[in-house]
């Protein structure tokens, strides 16, 4: 009897050391090492997964069938909790997300090891880069061309290419719509977007955090600014196009709220 009690006491006592040994302090970060990171853009529409070809009704009472959602992500910056930034090299920092082409991930390499709490990126191409001229960015220009993300060199990049068909009170028969966001001589519609990460993205040598971002396509027209496609139907009544003017400024404001980070997946895996 006494033996048993002693044995149990010994067992419990021993296990208490196991508890104390199991904690492991976060090692200091060696800032001279580099890791990778991934931005994963999960395209949705108003809380649902974006399915090209499927219809939904927005709060403008227009029923959209989205057939294309492409956008340019650029100038990625990683920000630590103390505010210090790591600016991804500008000449490597232009990417396209394309739902129809299944391009949803941006893989970034050689990022200084660190604990990053925010990310910042541009939606579109900044004027500084654009003004460097075509030859300075020929490779990306050609890539953007292949994904329908340019007009001509003189009119520049499409920052967002959002297309499909829609019906509304004024057009019960479905007609095409095209929303092409971009800058023009009148307005610079490139915008920076800052996102907080719900948990730290831990960039380490050998570790590759995946930042799972939800992009809400609905917000482009149905955000803080409401833009009706039916107000943009051509005279023949055959399609609606938004490619310039005040609407692009409104879209630029809407897209400030188009993205949010759902979660960050740390470690070496590539789960989303």
């Amino acid at each position: 009897m006494k033996q048993n009690i002693k044995a149990i006491a010994l067992f419990l006592f021993t296990t208490s050391f196991l508890i104390s040994c199991s904690s492991d302090d976060t090692a200091a970060i060696d800032e001279n090492t580099f890791g990778e990171a991934q931005l994963y853009f999960d395209n949705g529409v108003n809380g649902d997964k974006l399915i090209l070809g499927a219809s939904y009704t927005n709060s403008n009472n227009e029923r959209l069938t989205i057939n294309r959602l492409n956008y340019i992500i650029s100038n990625i910056i990683f920000i630590k909790s103390d505010g210090t930034e790591y600016v991804y090299p500008k000449n490597k920092s232009y990417f396209i997300v394309s739902e129809e082409s299944g391009i949803n991930t941006i893989n970034l390499t050689d990022i200084p090891a660190g604990d990053y709490k925010q990310i910042k990126f541009g939606l579109g191409v900044d004027n500084q880069r654009y003004l460097e001229g075509e030859t300075a960015q020929q490779e990306f220009w050609d890539y953007a061309t292949s994904l329908d993300m340019v007009w001509t060199w003189s009119t520049g990049y499409r920052f967002i290419n959002f297309e499909g068909t829609f019906t509304s009170d004024s057009n019960p028969e479905s007609i095409n719509f095209q929303v092409h966001q971009g800058s023009n001589s009148a307005t610079d519609n490139y915008r920076e977007i800052m996102l907080n990460l719900p948990t730290t993205a831990r960039v380490r040598m050998g570790d590759k955090p995946s930042i799972h971002i939800i992009a809400d396509a609905n917000v482009i027209l149905d955000g803080i600014n409401k833009i009706k496609l039916s107000d943009n139907i051509n005279q023949a009544g055959t399609s609606a196009a938004i490619m310039g003017g005040e609407n692009l400024v409104k879209i630029a404001a809407n897209t400030q709220a188009m993205f949010k980070v759902d979660h960050v997946h740390n470690g070496s895996g590539t789960e989303h």
Binding site: I5, F13, I19, S22, D24, G44, T199, H212, E271
Partner: protein
């Protein structure tokens, strides 16, 4: 003094135990502990209130089979598909009294988990986390003629990370699709049983302290509670014990690198029904738990039901 020492050790240890005690008659079938090894391993969404009905004696060895069905949303959107997750567990368990007031238990589960995703199906099988438990009988009504018989137990123990934890399984969907937590976890538990005539009421509370594993992932601490009303019918040497009760679990958020992981805390409340039968050296039980109310992992996991069978041999 001895009592105090033990109590101190148990409390000091942030001990571990999921258990139930439904029967403790003077008949061959006495105390029955219902343990759940399931906190967060293969089911952080399931936890410790399973309260599977099985009748055990002071010394026994048995096999318990548990089935848990979940649905988990494969994606981050409202219209992301729900996929079925099936958690099967076969568990060897045994209990050895070390004194008139103290028992030590061992629980060794083997899990078979599977889920069908849109793109592929995943399955995991293997040894789960082994649990060692100690219970101490703090108080028991000694007067046989009393109308109400009370019994109070306190317990605790440790869960050893013998099950594999693989953080690649931690995607957007159910983070508990794991064989083990990968961590040393500790429980504290109390149990109160009151009986009058053939009726009994068993109430348990337990708290599970989970620690960070080698992948810097920590499953959320877990509070379990449950209460079961049971009735004992004797037919010759056969003893039947139908029972009805409620049970619940509350989970704190999981943590990764000491930061809360979004959509991991939650709670669930079950109703349960079961019956047990005991005959000579054998006992058997069946038990089902149905959720009444739940909010697991931000609504991204839903428990459908749990089912358990057990067969025990009384040593």
């Amino acid at each position: 003094m001895k009592k105090l020492l033990i109590l101190f050790l148990l409390l000091n240890q942030t001990v571990n135990a999921q258990f139930k005690n439904l029967l403790s008659d003077q008949s061959s079938l006495t105390d029955a502990y219902f343990l759940d090894d399931c906190d967060a391993c293969g089911c952080s969404a399931s936890g410790g209130s399973m309260g599977f009905n099985s009748m055990l004696s002071e010394k026994f060895i048995g096999v318990r089979y548990m089935y848990q069905k979940y649905q988990s949303r494969d994606g981050v959107f409202n219209n992301s598909p729900w996929i079925d997750e099936n958690f099967n567990t076969v568990q060897l368990w045994g209990r050895i009294p070390v004194s008139s007031k103290m028992d030590v238990m061992v629980l060794a589960p083997y899990h078979f988990l599977n889920r069908e995703k849109m793109t592929d199906s995943q399955s995991l099988s293997g040894l789960g986390d082994i649990t060692l438990l100690t219970f101490y009988n703090l108080h028991q009504t000694q007067n046989d003629t009393a109308t109400f018989h009370h019994k109070i137990l306190v317990g605790g123990g440790i869960k050893v990370p013998t099950g594999v934890f693989n953080n690649k399984n931690n995607g957007s969907i159910n983070p508990s699709f794991q064989l083990g937590t990968g961590s040393w976890d500790y429980n504290l538990a109390t149990e109160y049983i009151v009986r009058a005539n053939n009726f009994g009421l068993n109430t348990t509370l337990s708290y599970v302290f989970k620690t960070e594993n080698h992948k810097n992932y920590k499953f959320g601490n877990q509070f379990n509670y449950g209460s079961t009303l049971f009735y004992t019918i004797l037919v010759d040497q056969l003893q039947l014990v139908p029972q009805i009760g409620v049970a619940g679990e509350t989970y704190q958020a999981n943590q990764e690198f000491k930061e809360d992981v979004p959509y991991t805390k939650g709670d669930i409340f079950f109703g349960k029904l079961g019956i047990e039968a005991g005959y000579r050296k054998f006992s058997a039980g069946i038990n089902v738990m149905l959720p009444i109310n739940q909010n697991l992992t931000g609504g991204r996991v839903e428990a459908d039901y749990r089912l358990a069978f057990n067969i025990n041999y009384i040593l």
